[in-house]
Symmetry: C2
Amino acid sequence: MNREASRPVMRSPSPTFSPLYRQIKDFMIKSLEEGEWGPGDAIPSEAELAGRFNVSQGTVRKAIDEMAAENLLVRRQGKGTFVATHNDPRSYYRFLRLTPDSGEKVQSLSEPLSCAVIAATREIAAVLRIGEGDPVVALERLLRFNGEPVVLDQIYLVGELFQGLTLERLRGYDRSLYSLFEGDYGVRMIRAEERLRAVPADPHSGGLLGVKAGEPLLLVERTAFTYGNKPVEWRRGFCCTKRHHYLNELG
Amino acid sequence: MNREASRPVMRSPSPTFSPLYRQIKDFMIKSLEEGEWGPGDAIPSEAELAGRFNVSQGTVRKAIDEMAAENLLVRRQGKGTFVATHNDPRSYYRFLRLTPDSGEKVQSLSEPLSCAVIAATREIAAVLRIGEGDPVVALERLLRFNGEPVVLDQIYLVGELFQGLTLERLRGYDRSLYSLFEGDYGVRMIRAEERLRAVPADPHSGGLLGVKAGEPLLLVERTAFTYGNKPVEWRRGFCCTKRHHYLNELG
DNA sequence: AAGTGGTCTAGACCACCGT
DNA sequence: CGGTGGTCTAGACCACTTG
C-alpha cells in the first residue's frame, strides 16, 4: 500500500476499486474476525499501523474512524484504540431498548430458566442459515427490572459455536449474555435486527410475566450477527409493556 | 477563524473550548435553522466555505462530514453538497419503520380523517413544551399498505407553527407529511424518539383497522424534533401487526 | 474543460494519559 | 517526560458531473 511497487492497491478505471482506507479497514476487520486482536485489547497505535501499511497516519485514521462509528473499536484519547467489548459498562445496554416508563435507571437481572440442545426447526434453521435438524442451544430466561418480571426471552444459538453452555454457567454469571458469549465462546455480537409486533399472551408467557392470557404483549424478535454478517442468535422476547416501553431513536 | 487576529476561536485551557470544525458546524447549523439555506438547496462548495471561514478545506470537510452523518446534509460527488429534504425519495421512509412481513415493497397511502385546532391538554403541552391550553393542530389519519388499513395516527402539532393546516390541504397531497410540513411551513423534522407498547384495541381504532376491540395493537408514540431539539410534533400510531411489523436495526 | 466532492500525503502542534 | 489520539494545514491528484 504505497506509491511504489508492493501494493495490493487497485487504482482507477476498475470495477473493484476501493480506496486505501477501506482496504485497511477490511484488513483490520479480518484481524478482528480471526481473533488476532481480542475484545478489550489495545490495537497498535495509528503511527505504528501507518508504518506497517506504508500509508500516512490520516489514512489509517479514516479507517479507524469508520470502525469506531460502527462500534467495532473504541478510541480513548491519550491511551489508545481498543477492540470494543460487551464486557464494559459503556456498551452494556447497547442492545437493550426496554426501559421503565418512569425513566429511572433500574437494575435489570436475568434469571435463566432452562437450557438444552435441540434440533433446529425449519424456522430456526432458516434464520440462522444452518441445516434443519442441526444442533441449536435453546435457552429461556426471565428478565426482571427491580425484581419485577418484564421480559421472557426464548433464545436459540448456533449449536456448533456454543457447545457446552449450561444452565449452571448462566446462573453463575452477573453480566450480559453477550458478555458471556464473548468471553466463553469468542463470539462477539456486532449488529442485530429486531422485528416488533403486538401479540396476545399465551398461558406460559403470561404466567411468568403476571398477565392474563390474551392480554397484549410486545413481541420482539431479534436476529444477532457476528463478524461477516453471520447470524448466530435468534431470540423471541415477550415483553410486558404495562410499566415499561421500547425506546427507539430515529436519526 | 485564522491563525491571525480576527478569530472567534477559543484556544487551549478554556472550559468552553471547541475545535474549529465544530464552531464551523455550529455556524452552518444556525444557517440552516435561520433558513438561509433551504431544503434541497446546494450549499457553497467546500473551497468557497474554506475561504469564507479562512480555514483549510479539510476542516470544513470534517464539519460537513458530521452533518452528513446526522442527515442534515447530503453529499453528491461531482455535484455539490445539499440541504437534506423529506421531499426526496431517498429519505422518504426515513421515519417509517413499519414494513410488510412479506418483505415486498408496497405503496403506502395516507388517508386524512380529520384536522382541527384544539387546546393543548396537560399531556400534549408537556411533550411539546408549550402551555396547557395553547393551540394545537390535531389530525387523524389512516395509513394503508396496498389498500389495507394498517396504522391509525393521531397527530398533534404545535399550533403556532402550523397555522392554517386544513383537511383539504392534506387530502390534496401525495407525499409524506414531513415533506408537506417542510414545504408549506418551513418546519423540518430532523430527529424523533419513539416509545413502543402493546395495547388492546379500542372500538374506534379497532374499527378503522379491522380488528376486534381488545385484540393487541402496537402503539408507537413519537416525539419529533426540529433544529435546536425543539419538539414540534407528538403522535400516537396504533398499528395492526398481523401482517406487518416494526423493523429496527441495532448497530 | 471547469467545478465539485473524494482520497492521500507530510508535517505541525495540541490535549490527554501514564510514568 | 514520552506516547497516544485529536486537530489543522497546504497541496496534490483522482472521480464524477455538467456544459
